[in-house]
C-alpha cells in the first residue's frame, strides 16, 4: 500500500507539518503547560500571600489569647512571614463599634481582616471573618487549622488528657497502598506517580490525536479548497494520497509524542531530579512500548476519520462544525480514560479497555494503574486492527468522493450516498 508516490506525499506531509511555528510551539509548550498546571497550586500556596497581610484576632474569651498567640507564633515563624497578627479581647457588642472604628483601616487594607472568636466557639467552633475580601482561601488555609488547634488545646486544658492522647485524637488516618502482582513476590508499595502517569497518558493521547487530527483535516481542506487536489490526483490515486498523508501526519505525531514523553521518563527515572519517593514510578518499559504502538494505531484510526471529515467540506468553518462526530469519539473515551483512575479495576474500565476507540485511551491508563493480565493485552491490538480496517474503508470512500465535491455544503445524507458511489 505504501508505494513511491505515497512515500513522496508522506515526506511532504511530514515536513509541512513539523517545520511550522505552530508545531514547534505546541510541542514545547504542552509539557511546560502540563507540568506548570501541576506546579501552579503549590506555587500559589507558597507565594499566594504575595501582599503583606495584617490580621486582627479578637477573642471574646480573654484566656484564649495566650494559646492563640503561641500557636500563631509557630506559624508565622515557620510558614509565612508575610502575615502579621494583633490580638484583642472584646465582646460581640464592642466588636460592632471596633469594626466601625477600624472601618477605614480595613477598607484601605491596613488591616486585611478581623477574626472574631465568640465564647460559644468553644462549644460550636463557629467563628467570623470580616474583610474586604472575605473569600481569601489562603487565609483560611493558613489560619483555620491554627485556630482550631488553639480551640482544641484550650477546650481540653483542664480535662486531664495527655498531650500524646490529644495528638493521637487529632491525627487523621493515612492509607499506604500496596500492589500485589504476578510480576513481583510479596507486595510492593504503590506510587502516586502511577496515578499521575495514567492521567498524563490519557491527556497526551487526547492532545496528540486532536492536534494531529485537526492539522490533517486542515491540510485536506487546503488541498481541496485550493484545487491542488486535482493535480495530485493526476499523478496518484486518492487512496495512495490518503495513506501518504495519514502516515506522514502520524509520524509527525509520533515525533511530538516522543518529545512529550521524554521529560516524563526523565523525571521518573532520573536520579538528577529529587522527587518525593511516593511519586517514583513503578512501571516497566513494556508499558511505554505498548503506549507508543497503541498511539500509532490510534492515530491511523482517527486520522482516517479526520481526513474524511476534511474532504466533506471546503472551508474550515464548515469543517469545524462538522467534526463533532469524530470529536465525540475522541472526547468520550478520553473522559473515561481519566475517570478510571478512581477505580481501575471496575467493570466499566475493564469493558472500555476492549471497546473500539475507547481502548486507545483506556488501556494505557489502566496498565499504568493495575496489573493487566497478558491475554487482555493481546485483545486491544486485534480490536484496533479491526476498527482500522472498517474506518479506513469508510474514510477512503468518503475521501475519494469528497475531495472533488465543491460548491454546495453537503448534507450527511449526501455523504452516506457517497459511500455507495462507484468512483
Amino acid at each position: 500500500m505504501l508505494n513511491r508516490r505515497s512515500y513522496t506525499i508522506l515526506k511532504r506531509e511530514f515536513m509541512a507539518r513539523v517545520f511550522t511555528k505552530g508545531f514547534i510551539l505546541m510541542t514545547i509548550l504542552l509539557p511546560l503547560f502540563m507540568f506548570g498546571s501541576m506546579a501552579i497550586p503549590t506555587m500559589m500556596m507558597k507565594f499566594g500571600g504575595e501582599k503583606k497581610s495584617h490580621i486582627r484576632i479578637i477573642s471574646e474569651t480573654p484566656d484564649l489569647i495566650p494559646t492563640l498567640k503561641a500557636s500563631f507564633d509557630t506559624l508565622s515563624s515557620q510558614k509565612s512571614r508575610d502575615i502579621t497578627f494583633e490580638y484583642d479581647s472584646l465582646d460581640s457588642v464592642a466588636l460592632g463599634s471596633d469594626l466601625q472604628e477600624l472601618r477605614s483601616d480595613i477598607l484601605s487594607n491596613k488591616i486585611s481582616g478581623v477574626i472574631f472568636i465568640p465564647d460559644r466557639a468553644l462549644a460550636d467552633k463557629q467563628i467570623a471573618y470580616y474583610s474586604t475580601n472575605p473569600n481569601n482561601t489562603m487565609i483560611f488555609m493558613h489560619i483555620g487549622s491554627v485556630i482550631n488547634r488553639s480551640l482544641v488545646d484550650y477546650y481540653f486544658r483542664d480535662k486531664n488528657i495527655s498531650k500524646e492522647d490529644l495528638d493521637y485524637a487529632r491525627q487523621g488516618i493515612d492509607f499506604k497502598k500496596f500492589r500485589i502482582s504476578k510480576k513481583k513476590e510479596g507486595a510492593e508499595e504503590e506510587s502516586k506517580g502511577n496515578e499521575l502517569l495514567a492521567f498524563v497518558f490519557s491527556f497526551l493521547l487526547y492532545m496528540g490525536v486532536i492536534i494531529i487530527g485537526s492539522g490533517l483535516m486542515q491540510s485536506v481542506i487546503e488541498e481541496k479548497a485550493s484545487r491542488i487536489i486535482e493535480v495530485l490526483l493526476s499523478s496518484t490515486h486518492a487512496q495512495e494520497l490518503m495513506v501518504g498523508k495519514i502516515i506522514g501526519a502520524s509520524l509527525s505525531g509520533l515525533l511530538q509524542m516522543v518529545i512529550w514523553i521524554i521529560p516524563v521518563l526523565f523525571v521518573s527515572f532520573s536520579a538528577l531530579l529529587v522527587i518525593p519517593p511516593e511519586f517514583h514510578l513503578k512501571v516497566d518499559s513494556g508499558l511505554f512500548i505498548y503506549f507508543f504502538i497503541n498511539y500509532t494505531v490510534g492515530l491511523f484510526i482517527y486520522l482516517g476519520l479526520f481526513a474524511a471529515v476534511g474532504s466533506i467540506f471546503d472551508n474550515s468553518q464548515d469543517a469545524q462544525s462538522g467534526t463533532w462526530p469524530v470529536a465525540l469519539l475522541v472526547a468520550i473515551p478520553f473522559m473515561i480514560g481519566i475517570s478510571i483512575v478512581m477505580n481501575p479495576g471496575s467493570i466499566l474500565s475493564e469493558v472500555c479497555s476492549f471497546l473500539p476507540f475507547f481502548t486507545i485511551f483506556v488501556m494505557p491508563a489502566r496498565m499504568a494503574l493495575i496489573d493487566v493480565p497478558t491475554w487482555q493485552l493481546l485483545v486491544p491490538p486485534i480490536i484496533n486492527i479491526l476498527t482500522l480496517t472498517v474506518t479506513f474503508k469508510l474514510a477512503a470512500k468518503i475521501y475519494r468522493v469528497g475531495i472533488l465535491m465543491t460548491g454546495k455544503k453537503p448534507l450527511w445524507s449526501d455523504v452516506v450516498k457517497w459511500v455507495r458511489y462507484k468512483y
Partner: protein, 309 residues
C-alpha cells in the same frame, strides 16, 4: 494515423444529471486536440475521466491501446481548469515534489527546473515561497509543474482562462514547442479563436454529447462547402424568405450564410447583386470555427453527431 488516446462511449451521471453521455473521440499521436464546448457542456468531466480521476459509469479510455491507469498518469502532464499550488512551499521544493510524484527525481529534474525558471525569468525566486509570487508568476510555476517531468502527453483544461497576455503567449509557445517534440496535446476551451489557431483536431461537446469531431481542416472544408462569409452594405433581410437559404447569422455588416446545397452559392451571389446589396467580400470557401460552433450548438433540437475522418 496512429492513435494516442481513444475515448470510447464514456458516460458519467451525477445523480439525475447526465454530465457526459456516450462520448467518443480519438486523439492522433502528435496532434493538438481541442475539446470545445460551452461552460458546463461536460468538458471537464470528460477530461477527469481521461485522467482516471473519475471512473466512468460506462465506457473506457485507452492510451496506446491499453486502458488508462497509473502508467498513463506517469506519462501525462495535466493542468486542471482550477489551479492551485501549496502556497507555503518554496518554488523549487514544490517543483521537485510534483516531479517526484511522476517518478522523476534527482539532479536532472533540478537542472531542468532551473533552466525553465531561467527561461520564465524566475531564477531569482527559486527559494521564495509560492505565496510571495505574483499571480502571473504563480501561473508560470503551475505550467512548469505540468511539464517538468517531460510528459509524453499533455492535457490542459481551459489553459487560457485567467491568463494575462504575456502568459497566454508563453503557454501558446510552449504548446507549439511540445507539438514540435512530437507530443500529443489535448486542451479544452470555450474560446473558439484560440482553438482555431492552435488545434489540428477537435471534438465539440454540447450537453454532455459529442456533436462534432475530426480534423479541423476536414471539418472546415465540409462546412464551408455550403457556407458563405459575407461582408456587405445594404438590406439582406429578404434572404430569410428564400427557399435556398438554410440559415443566416447576420451581424449587420457581416453575415454567415448557409445554403441548402453547395450548388446554390452562385445563385445567392446573383440574388444579392440583383437586390442592390453592395457586396464587399463574398468568401465562399471560408467558415470560422465560431460559425461552425454556433451553427451546430445553436440549432435547436438537432443533436445528431457529425463525424469526419
Amino acid at each position: 494515423m496512429s492513435v494516442a488516446l481513444e475515448v470510447r462511449e464514456v458516460c458519467k451521471n451525477f445523480g439525475a444529471i447526465k454530465a457526459v453521455d456516450r462520448v467518443s473521440f480519438v486523439v492522433p499521436e502528435g496532434s493538438i486536440f481541442a475539446i470545445l464546448g460551452r461552460n458546463g457542456a461536460g468538458k471537464t468531466t470528460t477530461i477527469r475521466m481521461m485522467m482516471n480521476i473519475y471512473l466512468p459509469d460506462k465506457g473506457e479510455v485507452f492510451f496506446r491501446g491499453t486502458k488508462v491507469g497509473q502508467e498513463f498518469k506517469n506519462k501525462v502532464g495535466y493542468l486542471p481548469e482550477e489551479r492551485g499550488l501549496y502556497k507555503k512551499m518554496k518554488v523549487m521544493d514544490l517543483l521537485r515534489f510534483f516531479a517526484e510524484l511522476k517518478g522523476k527525481r534527482g539532479a536532472e529534474i533540478t537542472h531542468r527546473a532551473k533552466s525553465y525558471l531561467e527561461r520564465f525569468q524566475l531564477s531569482d525566486r527559486i527559494k521564495d515561497k509560492v505565496q510571495d509570487l505574483s499571480k502571473g508568476n504563480q501561473q508560470k510555476i503551475q505550467f512548469l509543474a505540468t511539464i517538468l517531468h517531460d510528459p509524453e502527453f499533455v492535457i490542459l483544461d481551459e489553459p487560457f482562462s485567467g491568463l494575462d497576455p504575456i502568459n497566454t503567449n508563453l503557454l501558446k509557445d510552449m504548446i507549439l514547442e511540445m507539438k514540435q517534440q512530437g507530443k500529443a496535446i489535448i486542451f479544452s476551451t470555450h474560446l473558439m479563436d484560440f482553438a482555431e489557431k492552435l488545434c489540428d483536431h477537435l471534438a465539440l461537446i454540447d450537453q454532455g454529447r459529442v456533436v462534432l469531431s475530426g480534423s479541423l481542416s476536414q471539418i472546415k472544408e465540409e462546412f464551408s462547402r455550403r457556407h458563405v462569409h459575407l461582408v456587405y452594405k445594404g438590406d439582406i433581410s429578404f434572404l430569410h424568405d428564400l427557399p435556398i437559404i438554410d440559415k443566416i447569422e447576420d451581424f449587420g455588416n457581416t453575415a454567415g450564410i448557409r445554403v441548402k446545397d453547395p450548388g446554390q452559392i452562385q445563385e445567392l451571389l446573383r440574388l444579392l447583386v440583383a437586390r442592390g446589396v453592395e457586396v464587399k467580400k463574398f468568401d465562399a470557401d471560408e467558415i470560422s470555427l465560431h460559425e461552425i460552433f454556433v451553427q451546430i450548438t445553436g440549432d435547436t433540437g438537432e443533436k445528431t453527431s457529425t463525424k469526419i475522418r
